[in-house]
């Protein structure tokens, strides 16, 4: 579907937001988000077939951020909000402000470009060339051009342009699932109690299998069956078995979902 969402006053969600905010029609906190959404929906309805999915998605994203910000402020018990969460919120907001500002900057710059284009379009350049008189003195641009070369050029022009494709053949199929790796570990670990990760994956050739084993360990860590120690960054990872010394634990483990590849 071609992208055609474009009206003189509005195009796209950032513009909408900018338009609403900077025209002072909207103090986001004073006027309802519902109004904005209604306005947007109305615009979309007007556009009809011109609706672009990406535009709509982007708008939803922004609307969600705003909604979240607003919800948190309006809901009781705000003082309990974790500092970290608050910080994340600030970051989100700063990011949004930065993007809106950047968008507005280029929007204003584009007006100046338009003004210059209009100005320059009132003059026409002379494009006449030296004329017949000097034709013979000009270098022969057709030197070396044969009918066959012209055909080759034409053939290349007519070739369908290659469409970019993601090459997947080098991706190895997943041999072991995380669930299987967990099942293997709960058998192997109780016997060894404490083992370093490199020893655990010795003999494993595929990098993917190493990753799967690591994910399985994380899963076990999450469930409190193992402890992980690493003295230094990139240092040796020690795996300590915390579970019972039997293999029964396997039965208690929450079913581990397969990591879809």
């Amino acid at each position: 579907m071609p992208y055609t969402v474009s009206t003189p006053v509005f195009e796209g969600p950032f513009d909408l937001l900018l338009h609403l905010i900077s025209s002072d029609k909207v103090e986001l906190w004073e006027v309802s988000l519902a109004d904005i959404v209604d306005g947007y929906v109305a615009t979309i309805a007007e556009l009809g077939d011109g609706l672009d999915l990406e535009t709509a998605t982007e708008f939803l994203l922004i609307a969600a951020v705003l909604l979240e910000l607003k919800t948190r402020r309006l809901l009781p018990g705000r003082e309990n909000v974790e500092a970290e969460e608050e910080f994340a919120l600030w970051e989100e907001r700063d990011l949004l402000v930065a993007r809106l500002l950047e968008c507005k900057t280029f929007k204003d710059a584009s007006r100046e470009l338009e003004r210059r284009i209009d100005e320059a379009s009132r003059s026409w350049p002379r494009r006449v060339g030296p004329g017949e008189l000097y034709q013979s003195a000009r270098p022969d641009v057709m030197a070396g051009v044969t009918p066959e070369r012209l055909r080759d050029v034409m053939q290349r022009v007519l070739e369908p342009k290659p469409v970019a494709k993601v090459e997947l053949t080098h991706v190895a199929p997943v041999r072991v699932s995380v669930a299987e790796a967990v099942a293997g570990l709960v058998v192997a670990l109780p016997e060894r109690q404490r083992v370093c990760f490199t020893d655990l994956v010795v003999g494993v050739r595929e990098r993917l299998e190493v990753i799967v084993c690591f994910l399985a360990l994380l899963e076990l860590y999450k469930q409190g069956c193992v402890d992980l120690e690493q003295a230094t960054t990139f240092g040796t990872l020690q795996v300590i078995w915390l579970g019972e010394n039997t293999t029964d634990v396997a039965g208690d483990l929450v079913v581990v979902e397969d990591y879809e590849g």
Binding site: W124, V128, P130, R138, V141, P147, M154, Q155, V157
Partner: protein
Amino acid sequence: MTEDAKAIEAIVMVAEEPVGAGLLAQLLEITPSHVEVLCHELAESYRRENRGFELVKVAGGYQFQSRPEMAVYVERFVVDGQNARLSAAALEALAIVAYKQPVSRAQVAAIRGVNADAVMRTLAARGLIGEVARDDGPGQAALFGTTTLFLEKLGLFSIEELPPLAGFVPGPEIMDSLERSLLADSAPKVDLRGGGEADSDVTESTF
């Protein structure tokens, strides 16, 4: 300078062909004889100021050109100052015009996916392509074809002697829809090398 004289200077400066006194008169809403007087005065003023260009009256009308005494510089410019070979873009445009003539600038642009104005101008200035017709559609876009000079340079007797395109060539309907999807303005519908005889007639008789 009167407004009329200024207008004549402006129009003749950007005109690619000599402009007739009749046309100038019509554009300025004055009489052709008044145009003649003004042009004469302008030519006189350039001579008096000893400028490097002159306003001359040739068969078709008035045009600016470099003054003959400056020929040595112009020749240097023509020999050294310009590209000695066609750019890849120009060669592409030339191939398209050769195989699809008559064809508009917009169609060439659509097939190449980029603007073709500059390269078409270069090709026309080199005498390799020329306007052969006007499209019937709105806007009456100029349609271009190759010239006899083009045939001479390639050592061809007629455009029919161009080597046929081998392998898969999209049929007219595919090309048509491709163009329509790419064209911003309404593209003229052109028979794509279907009427071979008619095409070559146009080409040969026009140049």
